[in-house]
Structures are given as structure tokens and as C-alpha cells.
Symmetry: C2
DNA sequence: GTCTATAATTAGATAGAC
DNA sequence: GTCTATCTAATTATAGAC
């Protein structure tokens, strides 16, 4: 069944040239991959989200796998920016507290990163090997080392440095991975500033039980 | 292109009657839905996993949605058994510690429950509304209430009772949701007894900083 | 670079033989 | 209850006009 235009002159296909179409497709892909996983996401649906046609995805990204990889690189580069601007200049405890705040704020603003991770990390695959080697392991090692240093100073909870990664990522991000569920349970947006502040304070107090944030004089 | 049997007598289709085929299909579905989500999972692949034919799924479960619902009910009923056998008879702190151990052991043995949850909870849907109302909210409320009581007793970390659910589920389960990743990072199976013991001890110490498990006299 | 048309494959569901 | 055959719809990728 074909679309029958009321008037042929108005049916002329509109050419929607946009200089940012690659970014629009990428953002649409991030959303789709986060919500439905690699297999569940469809390039047709991604294109529609960007008000584009499905073959434009193959033109700009060759194939679905390269689109997925570009999406992953994009969200991790955004995380890099947050980490890079985190103030580690004070004492290690204040630096760790700032890191926790950065991670919670990032998870609230960009839940897609962790959503894509859980979609991929449920089963072994080439995609998982790539993302783990490229993006995850350096962060895992850094956090493990930082945590061991905090334990040396006697301010950190007795969590094994090999396991601290999953405690930190689990607490800072699960509420945002499951944000559609959290919105139902909390009856409000879990990304609200008040929720974020409470969540950060709770996590820091729990992980650094002997640390008291400096109060302004 | 059709399969040409070497000998017609050996090509007779084998009728694989099994009285537990429904359970086999259900178990295969749990695995597939956990790893690839509702849209990513295919009934053909699920049937193949159970060494059955794709139409048998429609025969035993009507359609894909009812298969999914049966899979969810199954894993939550298994969780119920674990919770039901948890010993809450001692003091509240010992009961909470036992609950944490039960949750970690369950996540290690049945990561599919939480994997299915994160697959579904990323976006609003009828499936999410059903699973949240039916299975999640009662547990969320129970944990919130239990936590408030522990805080009254002065032994619990300063986590908001409205947020404790995500702290508990995040810490107890993320390493098992991401078990394929964790296996790479830890260079061992995160479901190993030694890892489980360490993880439980860390979480309990962090959440109940003033609680010291009773040592045998 | 955008767009239509379409090829090649796979999806979930149903009909009917056994 | 199992199985083959098949329908309709949806998938990713490609060809070629513009």
C-alpha cells in the first residue's frame, strides 16, 4: 500500500541536508544501543530517531558494528572529560569524594554508558573483549590503586581493592542504569539534584567512614 | 538448497518427546533474555538451545511475551526461596548480614534475574510497569523499612532509606550482572566462593560499620 | 550526501500432517 | 505434542538515480 500524495507538487521528496547528521545519528545510536542492546537496536529505528533514512547509517558508519563502536567511544570520551576536570588537588579523601560526585553526576546525565556496558557484559563476545581492554581495564586498575592508597591512610572501608570497582560503579550507577524503574519507585526523577546530593553523601560516608568533609571556616 | 541425506532410512525425522520440554524451553529463555534482552532474544535461538523446534515455543507458551513473563516469574520465585530460607531470627543486624549474603550468593548463582532487570529498566514499557509493580516494589519497600529500623538502632551507615535499595542491589549484583567482564578483570570466576565471601564481608562492613559479627565462643 | 528501491536474510506466528 | 512448511513483516546492506 503506497502513500498517495494529495498533490504531486507537495510530494516532492525533501532533501534534508544537515552538516551535523553524523552527530545526530551517533546520538540516536547511543540511545538505542543503551535501551535495546546491540541485537535489539535496529538501524532503521536509529535513523528514524535522527529524522534520516536507514542507508545514511551505512554511508556515514559503514555498518552497524562500526556505528556501535563510535557510540561507545563517544560516551567514554565524555566520561574522560568529567574525570579530567575532577579536582584531585586536595587531600586524597577529598579527591575520592569528588570522584564519587563526578561518577554519580555523570551516571545521571549519561546513563547510556553504563546501560551499554551491562548490555554487553552479560556474555562473552568480541565486542566485550574490545570494550574491556580499551576502556574498562585502565579505569579498573586506577580505582584499585587509588583505593589501596586510601586504605593505607586508614580512612577507607574494608573493601578488597580488587572488588572496589564493582562497589563504586554499582552504587554510583545502578539507580541510573535502571532509571525508568527508579522513576517509578521514587516517584521522581532520580537525576534530580536533591537525589544526587543525597546519593553522593551516602556513598562517600559509607566508603570513607573516617572522613569528614571540611566545612567552610 | 535442501539437505540430502546419505541414506533415507537415517533421515527419518526424530521425534524428541520429553516430558520436561517446557522447563527446558523456560531455562533457555531465561538465558537468552538475560543476555540479549527481549528484542534481541529470538525464539528460534531459544528453541535451538533446548534442542527443540521454534513452533514448540508457541505451543507451550502461546507467544514470546508470555514466554518472557514465565521466565521472569521463574527467576523471582527462585529468589523468593532464598529470601524465605534466610535466618532473620537473630538480632536485626545478623539478619541483615544474612540477607546480604543471600543476595550475593543468589546474584552469583542466578545473574539472569538482575540481567533481565537492567535490560528492561532502561526504558519505560508495559513490561517494566508489570515487573516493577509485581516483583520489585514489595522488595523495595521491605528493604527500605528494614533499613530505617537498623538506622534507628544506630548501626547503619547514613544512607537514605529511599536509596538503600539501589546501594544494596548495586553492590551485591553488578559484579554478577557483568560477570563476563568481571571474569576478564579479576582473571577468575567472580562466583568463586572466596570472591563471594570477600564481597559479602566488605558490603556488610561498609553498610553496618558499627556491627561486629559474633565470633564463636 | 540524500534518497528510493530492493536484495538477502531472519524474525514470530500459524496450518496441518503425523 | 512434535514436526515441516510457509506466511507476513522486519532486518542490514547495497545499487544507482539525483
Amino acid at each position: 500500500m503506497h502513500h498517495v500524495p494529495l498533490d504531486e507538487s507537495t510530494a516532492a521528496p525533501r532533501r534534508r541536508d544537515r552538516d551535523n547528521i553524523r552527530d545526530l545519528l551517533l546520538e540516536a545510536a547511543i540511545t538505542e544501543f543503551a535501551q535495546r542492546g546491540f541485537d535489539g537496536a535496529s538501524t532503521t529505528s536509529i535513523a528514524r530517531r535522527a529524522d534520516a533514512h536507514q542507508p545514511q547509517i551505512n554511508y556515514h558508519f559503514s555498518n552497524k558494528s562500526e556505528l556501535w563502536q563510535a557510540a561507545v567511544d563517544q560516551v567514554f570520551s565524555e566520561l574522560d572529560e568529567v574525570i579530567a576536570t575532577t579536582d584531585f588537588l586536595g587531600d586524597p579523601e577529598a579527591g575520592f569524594a569528588a570522584l564519587i560526585r563526578g561518577l554519580v553526576e555523570f551516571a545521571a546525565a549519561r546513563p547510556e554508558l553504563h546501560q551499554i556496558m551491562v548490555q554487553e557484559a552479560t556474555a562473552a563476545s568480541d565486542r566485550l573483549n574490545w570494550i574491556t581492554d580499551t576502556h574498562i581495564r585502565p579505569r579498573y586498575e586506577q580505582l584499585s590503586t587509588l583505593w589501596a592508597a586510601l586504605q593505607q591512610r586508614g580512612v577507607a572501608a574494608p573493601i578488597d581493592p580488587k572488588l572496589i570497582y564493582y562497589v563504586v560503579i554499582g552504587t554510583t550507577s545502578l539507580m541510573y542504569i535502571n532509571r525508568a524503574e527508579a522513576r517509578i519507585l521514587l516517584s521522581e526523577n532520580p537525576a534530580n539534584e536533591a537525589i544526587i546530593d543525597k546519593h553522593v553523601a551516602g556513598i562517600v560516608a559509607m566508603l570513607l567512614p573516617h572522613y569528614k568533609p571540611a566545612t567552610r571556616p
